[in-house]
Structure formats: C-alpha cells, structure tokens
C-alpha cells in the first residue's frame, strides 16, 4: 500500500533534505546506483550522474529547471541488458513516459529499476539556464530552487525573465505517474510530499503523515498549460491546410538530423537516412533534376520529416527536446505533438501511460481505424 509522508526541510534547505533522502537509498541498499542530476561549473548547468557512493551526492539537484537530455535514454542504456544491480533514477514526467515507451520497444528493462518521480514546473533551454545563473552569486542551484519554491507558494507568474522551453509551456503533465516513489512540490507548503510503498517507507525510517490537498493547485497549472497547448495546436492546424504550407514551415530546416539524436523515442542504432540508400550514384541526381527541372539539395528534407513522423509519432511523449536540439528553432514540439494527437487518438493510444497498453505498431487486430 502506498502512503504519504512529508520530508522535513530545515531552514528552507530543500536541496539538503532531498540529498539526505537520496543518500538513504544508497546507504540502506535500496538501490546500488542512483541516476540523479547534479550541478556542475558552480551550478551553471546540470548533468545526469550515476552515483554509487552517497558521498558524491553533494551537488545533487533534481529540482533545477533544466534538462539537457531525456534521461529515459540513459536509463535504457543502464537497464537494457537486464543487469543484476538495482538501479534508481530520479526522473521527470516526460522522462518516465519516454522510458515506458522504450521499455515497450524493448530498449529498456524496468524490472530492477526504482523510479523516483519528481514534480516538474517546466524547464529552460540549457543555454538560457546558464545565462540566468551567470547573473547569480553564491549557491546558484539553491537560489533557483528557492525562487521556484516561492513561485509555487505564491502561485505567481514565471519567476525568471526567460521563457520556459516551448514544450514545457504546453505540458499538461507537471506530476508523475508510473513512478515507484513520487516527490511532490506543487500544492505542498512546507517540505516535500513523498508518496511510496509502506514497506519502503519503513526501510527509510519514514512514517505516514498527512497528505496536503494538492489537487486544486495541480489542476490550475494543468489548465493553463493545456490552454497553451490547445492554442498552439489550433494555430498549427490553421497554418497547415496544404502540403505547401507544411513545407513552408520547414523553410529554415538545414537538414542536420539533430532532433533524431535528441529524441528519446528515436532509438534505432543506425538511422535509415544515414544508410547507403541515401547515397545514390551521381547519375541519379542528374536524372531527378532532369525530370523535375530543378532538384532541391540536400534532397531529403521533407521526406525525412514525414518519415520520422510516421516512425515515432505514435509514441511521442512531447518532451520537446527535438525543438531544443534544432539549430533553426523549428516549431517541432507543436508539429509532433499536434500530429501525434491525431494519430494517437485514431489508435486510441496514450504513449507513456502504462506498460499494459499495447504498442499500436506491435499489435495487430482485424479492424483498421477510421483515418479521418
């Protein structure tokens, strides 16, 4: 049975409380290794670290709003060959949902994994976050977290004068599902709300406490974000009435394929687009140019985008790292999420919701789907 308890925070040191809580997992051998974000370069950025010795948790900071990588990819690397070790990972909602998809795609194994899910109010672009912290003195991570806390408490506007990543502005998943332990911040006034199995709580020396009513606070945030999402989707659909208009949106695409590297769902070891199929002999180019009058080069911009939509959009969890990786800042989050919504509705599939939901491309039923 899951119980709620509140982690005590002394003198506003929320990170200290979290670090002690996480160290307990290693010291009490609940996990052998822990994947957790830590501050580097005096808090200018954060990286994921795989910690074995609890003494090395001194810069752990799972709360700072920056996400250089979707850690589902890292957890997949750590678990795909079914290790004997017990792995723990502190993850945001989009990371957990991507991980569930990867597990169903047989790229990750969740058997020996303990997921610690954490509330996420949204993240900044890595470069924006570095600029933000450059202007701060002292403990930068702690100051950012304190600002976030203040915002949660006061229910105020964005605390910093830089925008959240576009994906986060329209994310309707501030809290996590599918985690073994959840750490709640939204709607919690003092401390951190911990929800976990009673057995595990006993091992950690935690006793059941009061659960604050945080439904309202969460619902309010979700409402704002869903509204932004719906407006963005409507705008995309308004602007995409013909294939010409769709092509227009990729006018500034430089064909770097970065976003396929950043995407947690794009798991192929060798992308089809990087194979010899796309290195034809020169004569073919001349023939194509002859037939069409002129050939756009490099040739596969729209083919790549449309193919990638086909390959991964059923499992797109909307983490938006595609857009963060795009040097031309194409509105990839909206494109993939909006098109994804259409496909996922047709397939009656919610990516990342549960291991029980069968992957639509791996299950075959008699009936097709009404396409439109």
């Amino acid at each position: 049975m899951k119980i709620n308890t509140t982690l005590a925070v002394e003198a506003g040191d929320i990170l200290g409380a979290l670090r002690r809580f996480l160290a307990d997992f290693l010291e009490k051998h609940i996990v052998d290794v822990l994947l957790v974000p830590q501050e580097i370069a005096q808090g200018r950025s954060l990286v994921q670290t795989l910690v074995q010795d609890p003494a090395y948790l001194s810069r752990a900071n799972p709360l700072s709003p920056v996400m250089p990588v979707n850690s589902a990819v890292l957890v997949a690397q750590l678990t795909v060959d079914k290790p004997q070790r017990k792995v723990g990972a502190v993850l945001r909602s989009c990371e957990i949902r991507a991980l569930i998809e990867l597990a169903k795609l047989r790229q990750a194994n969740l058997e020996n994994l303990t997921i610690i899910g954490i509330d996420c109010l949204g993240t900044y672009e890595v470069a924006d976050y570095a600029r933000l912290t450059d202007e701060m003195e002292g403990e930068k991570g702690a100051r950012v977290v304190a600002e976030l806390q203040r915002r949660i408490a006061e229910d105020g506007a964005e605390p910093f004068p830089i925008p959240l990543r576009p994906a986060c502005q329209m994310c309707e998943f501030p809290t996590t599902g599918g985690a073994d332990i959840t750490l709640g911040l939204i709607g919690v006034e003092d401390g951190i709300l911990v929800t976990l199995e009673s057995e595990l709580a006993a091992k950690l020396g935690l006793t059941e406490g009061e659960a604050p009513d945080r439904e309202k606070a969460i619902a309010k945030l979700v409402e704002v974000r869903s509204g932004a999402r719906d407006r963005a989707f409507a705008e995309f659909r308004q602007q995409t009435k013909s294939i010409t208009e769709f092509a227009d949106q990729f006018a500034t695409c430089i064909g770097c394929h970065n976003y396929a590297v950043a995407c947690p769902i794009c798991f192929c070891k060798e992308c089809f687009f990087h194979t010899a199929t796309f290195e034809p002999e020169s004569e073919r180019y001349f023939r194509w140019a002859e037939r069409a009058g002129a050939l756009r080069m490099p040739t596969e911009i729209l083919l790549f985008q449309l193919t990638r939509l086909n390959h991964m959009v059923a499992s797109c969890v909307g983490c938006g790292l595609c857009e963060s990786a795009c040097p031309s800042k194409l509105p990839l989050t909206v494109i993939f999420r909006a098109v994804g919504e259409g496909v996922q509705k047709m397939l009656r599939y919610v990516p990342g919701r549960s291991l029980e939901d069968e992957l639509p491309l791996a299950t075959f039923k008699e009936e097709g789907f009404p396409v439109v």
């Binding site: 659909r237 602007q239 995409t240 009435k241 013909s242 294939i243 010409t244 208009e245 769709f246 092509a247 227009d248 006018a251 089809f272 194509w288 037939r291 069409a292 009058g293 002129a294 756009r296 729209l302 083919l303 449309l306 193919t307 939509l309 086909n310 390959h311 959009v313 059923a314 909006a338 098109v339 259409g342 496909v343 047709m346 397939l347 639509p360 491309l361 075959f364 039923k365 008699e366 097709g368 789907f369 396409v371 439109v372």
Partner: protein
C-alpha cells in the same frame, strides 16, 4: 482543365497482388497503363518512407496490394501494412496532403479481375482530382502566402 494521365506506383505482395496482376496480364484483361509495379515479398515489408518518397517525387497515387486478412504468407504482414498505412494516411491528412491518394487493397493471386478493376477505378478517381502538387516540387518549395 485538360485531363491528365495520373502516375501510380503500386507496391504489390509477391504472393497475391503481384500474382493477381500477372493473372490480369495472362488473361488479357484491359486496364490503363498508368501503373508502375514494384514487387515486394510482403505488404508488411513496406516502410512508409517508400510511399512518402513516391508521393514527394510526384506520383499521383500509391497502391499497396496485399493478401486478404488471414491469408498472409507470413501470418500477419498484411496487418502490419494495414496499421502502417492507417498511420500514414492520418499523418498525410494532417499535413495537408490528400490521403486518398494512398490505397491499400487486398487482392488475391486468383483475382486478376479485381486487380484490373482496382487500377481502372483508381485511375478514374485520380483523374477527377488535380495532379499531385508535388509533381512540380519547386513550386511547393517556393511556398504559399499563408503567413503575415
């Protein structure tokens, strides 16, 4: 507008639709010559990339021909094709491309008649439409005027 001759790329399964096309030929059945056939070992072997490539390079229609459900030579390849084509058509619709240019049909090796009538029907329907806008890709790439 003067009637145009649509170009159709047909991806046909070796075990059924391709044999059906063969039967249509050996039976001297008439059907329009607008179709270029590519033989596959199974309709389930088709990745959407090949269908999209055909459309982006100006094919007016793409036909995927597979075995009737339950009769796949490899047990479930046609179910895979069905699911993939459903997703592809859904996406094409959403990005403003007429998804009814992509046809998925189950045609058995003994159904030469059905193959011929499918091609006739497809050519007629495509003739009623405009040519694929991507026949002239440069016009597409030059863009529309939807923005401010």
């Amino acid at each position: 507008m003067a009637e145009f001759e649509p170009r159709i790329i047909a991806f046909l399964c070796n075990w059924c639709a391709y044999q059906g096309a063969d039967l249509a030929g050996t039976s001297h059945l008439e059907y329009p010559p607008n179709v270029r056939i590519i033989r596959l070992m199974c309709s389930g072997a088709i990745d959407p990339v090949y269908i999209i490539n055909a459309l982006l390079t100006g094919a007016d229609g793409v036909l995927i021909g597979g075995c009737h459900l339950g009769t796949c030579h490899y047990q479930n390849g046609n179910y895979k094709a069905q699911r993939r084509v459903d997703i592809l058509r859904n996406i094409l619709h959403q990005v403003g491309f007429a998804e009814d240019r992509v046809w998925l049909r189950w045609i058995d090796a003994s159904e030469g008649q059905l193959f011929a009538s499918t091609i006739r029907e497809m050519v007629n329907e495509l003739k009623a439409k405009e040519p694929n806008p991507l026949r002239h890709p440069w016009e597409v790439w030059q863009g529309s005027n939807w923005g401010p």
